[in-house]
C-alpha cells in the first residue's frame, strides 16, 4: 500500500490509455508521456502497461507502507526519498515507512520548472481496470482511483510484482533518459508537425507565422490540451466545419486564432480547423513542457515522422537490452 500525504496540483492513476472506444466518445486518456511511464515501469520490473501515477508540478508527498521499488521519469522536481535524492530514470528500493517528496515546481532547489513526472511502483497501482484500462478519465469520472484525482489520505494498493526479495532490495541503478524539460537558457522546445487536413484553409501569412512564432504555453492548459498564445492565425474564409475526429497532437485553431494542441483527455471529435498534428514521437515533449514555456513548431513530412517514431522504438529496444544485460528481470 501507499498513502498519498500530499497530491500536489494534480495526481492521477494512469496507464497507457483506454483504446478502442473512440467510436462511442471515450477518449484514450492515459499517461500524457507514454515514453516516461514505459521507462519507469521497466525500471521496476513492470509490464509497460502497468498503472503508475502522473504527478503535476511536483509538490507531492507519498508514504510507502510496504517494501517495494520505485522509479520516476519526467521532469526533475528534486525528488527525495527520506531526504536522499532520486534521479529521473533511476530504480530505487523503498522500505516500508519511507516517504517520497517532490518539491513544488517553483520551489527553490527545483532544477527545472517542468510540468509533469511519472511514478512507477513495482507491481503497478492495483485499481480495477474499466473498459480495458486503469487510467483515470477525469472528465467523465471513471477509472483509476474512484474516477477522480488523488486526494490527501488516499491509500493505493500495489499489484503483485514479478521481482523477488533480492531484486526488490537491489541497490539503486539508472539509465540515461531523454532530455526532459526545457533547454538550458530557456530556448524553445521544438515539436515536429505534419500539416493537418485544414492547413490549406489558412492564409499564407498564417502558414509562415505557424512555423516562425515562439508560442507560449498558457496557464489554461490541462490534460485536454495545451493552449498556446502568440501570433493570430487566420483562415482565408470563415466556414463552419462539421464535427470530425481529433487525436492527441491535433493542433486546432478556434476563432480566436490562438492554437490549441490536443492531449490525451481531449474530446474525440472537434469542430475547429486542424492546421497541423504534432507527430507521435514528439508528444511526450509537450506533456512535459512547462506552463509559460515556449514552443517552436517545425514542419516535417510523413517519412521524417515515421523515422522519428522508429528512432524512439530503437531507443526503447536498447533500454530493454541494456536492462536484460544488467540482469534485470522484466515481466515474463
Amino acid at each position: 500500500m501507499m498513502l498519498v500525504q500530499k497530491p500536489g496540483m494534480l495526481a492521477s492513476v494512469q496507464d497507457l490509455g483506454r483504446h478502442g472506444h473512440r467510436q462511442v466518445g471515450i477518449c484514450p486518456g492515459g499517461a500524457l508521456d507514454v515514453l516516461a511511464l514505459t521507462l519507469a515501469n521497466r525500471l521496476v520490473g513492470n509490464a509497460d502497461g502497468a498503472a503508475g501515477l502522473e504527478l503535476t508540478m511536483g509538490g507531492c508527498e507519498i508514504r510507502f507502507e510496504t517494501d517495494t521499488r520505485i522509479a520516476l521519469a519526467g521532469d526533475d522536481f528534486s525528488a527525495r526519498l527520506d531526504g536522499t535524492p532520486i534521479w529521473p530514470c533511476w530504480s530505487v528500493p523503498v522500505r516500508a515507512g519511507q516517504t517520497l517528496k517532490l518539491a513544488g515546481a517553483n520551489a527553490s532547489g527545483a532544477k527545472k520548472a517542468g510540468l509533469r513526472s511519472w511514478l512507477a511502483v513495482a507491481g503497478g497501482i492495483d485499481v480495477p481496470p474499466v473498459l480495458g484500462s486503469r487510467s483515470t478519465d477525469l472528465k467523465a469520472g471513471f477509472g483509476g482511483h474512484q474516477g477522480r484525482a488523488l486526494r490527501k489520505g488516499d491509500r493505493l494498493a500495489l499489484g503483485a510484482t514479478a521481482l523477488d526479495a533480492a531484486q526488490l532490495a537491489r541497490r539503486p541503478f539508472g539509465l540515461r533518459g531523454p532530455d526532459w524539460g526545457p533547454e538550458e537558457g530557456g530556448s524553445a522546445i521544438e515539436l515536429r508537425v505534419l500539416p493537418g487536413p485544414e492547413f490549406e484553409q489558412f492564409t499564407a501569412a498564417s502558414h509562415a507565422l505557424l512555423w516562425s512564432e515562439r508560442w507560449r504555453i498558457t496557464a489554461q492548459s490541462n490534460r485536454m490540451g495545451s493552449r498556446l498564445a502568440g501570433a493570430e492565425l487566420k483562415r482565408k474564409r470563415s466556414i463552419d466545419m462539421l464535427s470530425s475526429g481529433v487525436i492527441p497532437g491535433t493542433i486546432q485553431v478556434p476563432p480566436s486564432g490562438q492554437p490549441i494542441i490536443l492531449m490525451g483527455d481531449a474530446q474525440t471529435t472537434g469542430g475547429y480547423p486542424r492546421i497541423g498534428v504534432v507527430i507521435r514521437a514528439d508528444l511526450w515533449k509537450l506533456a512535459q513542457a512547462p506552463l509559460d514555456g515556449r514552443l517552436r513548431l517545425v514542419q516535417v513530412d510523413m517519412a521524417a515522422a515515421l523515422e522519428a517514431w522508429a528512432g524512439q522504438q530503437r531507443y526503447l529496444a536498447q533500454v530493454a537490452q541494456g536492462l536484460a544485460a544488467a540482469g534485470w528481470s522484466g515481466p515474463a
Binding site: H21, L131, K139, A140, P197, S243, I247, M302, A305
Partner: protein
C-alpha cells in the same frame, strides 16, 4: 469519392463534400465496418459526413491505405446499415427543461407545441463524441432549430435533452454546455461498467417519448 488526408502519422481522415445527408452518413458507417477488417487498422471514428481511422504505419503504408479506401468506396453498400430503434422517455420543461420557454419564444411556437414536434420525429445518431455516449442526432424538425445559449452553462445536469442549432442530443454526464435544455430522461446514457458502455451507437434511430410536460 471522399477526400483523404492524413491526420498525423497514424490516422487518416476520409471526408465527403457537404452537405451531410443520411445516405452519405450510411456509406460512412459502411466504410467504418469495412476498414476494421483490414490489417493495420485500429479504431474508426465516424464524424459528421466523415470518418477518421487510426492505423499502424509499420503495418500499412498510408499511400496504400488511401488507395485501398478509394478502391473500396464505390462498392460499399449503404443499405446494409440498419441501427436499432431506441425509445427515450423525457420529462419536458420545468426544472428538467429550463430552456423550453426560450425555445418556444425563439421558434414562435407554444411550449406544448415544441414538445409535440420534438417528440413526434424520428432521429438518427450520426456520431458519438464530445463526451462518452453523447449522441449527435440528425432529424430535428427545422422549425425547432434554436441557437446555442449566449453564455454556456458551467454544469449541465446529466441526462439533459437539448437543442443546439439544428441538432438535438442528450448530455450523458454533468458537463459544461451551451445547448438549450428542454427536458431530461431517466435513462442512463453512459455506464462504464455496462457492456456496451453506452446506450446509443452510431446508426441507431431514436424516438423521444413524452413522460411529462411542465410549461
Amino acid at each position: 469519392m471522399p477526400r483523404l488526408h492524413p491526420l498525423g502519422d497514424a490516422a487518416l481522415l476520409c471526408e465527403l463534400a457537404p452537405p451531410a445527408t443520411l445516405a452519405q452518413q450510411q456509406q460512412i458507417w459502411a466504410l467504418g465496418i469495412e476498414v476494421q477488417q483490414w490489417p493495420g487498422v485500429g479504431e474508426v471514428l465516424p464524424g459528421m459526413n466523415n470518418l477518421t481511422l487510426t492505423f499502424d504505419p509499420t503495418a500499412i503504408d498510408v499511400d496504400a491505405l488511401m488507395a485501398r479506401v478509394n478502391e473500396a468506396w464505390p462498392r460499399l453498400s449503404a443499405a446494409a446499415i440498419e441501427g436499432r430503434l431506441v425509445e427515450i422517455p423525457v420529462a419536458y420543461g420545468g426544472e428538467h427543461g429550463p430552456d423550453l420557454a426560450a425555445v418556444a419564444a425563439h421558434t414562435g411556437l407554444t411550449p406544448a407545441e415544441v414538445v409535440r414536434r420534438h417528440s413526434g420525429g424520428e432521429y438518427v445518431v450520426y456520431l458519438l463524441g464530445f463526451l462518452p455516449g453523447f449522441a449527435f442526432m440528425g432529424g430535428l424538425p427545422p422549425e425547432l432549430a434554436t441557437p446555442r445559449r449566449a453564455e454556456p452553462r458551467t454544469a449541465v445536469p446529466a441526462r439533459s435533452v437539448g437543442i443546439g442549432g439544428e441538432q438535438t442530443g442528450i448530455y450523458p454526464l454533468v458537463s459544461p454546455g451551451g445547448w438549450q435544455l428542454i427536458g431530461r430522461t431517466s435513462l442512463e446514457l453512459f455506464d462504464p461498467a455496462a457492456e456496451p458502455p453506452t446506450l446509443l451507437r452510431p446508426g441507431d434511430r431514436v424516438r423521444f417519448v413524452v413522460e411529462s410536460v411542465e410549461t
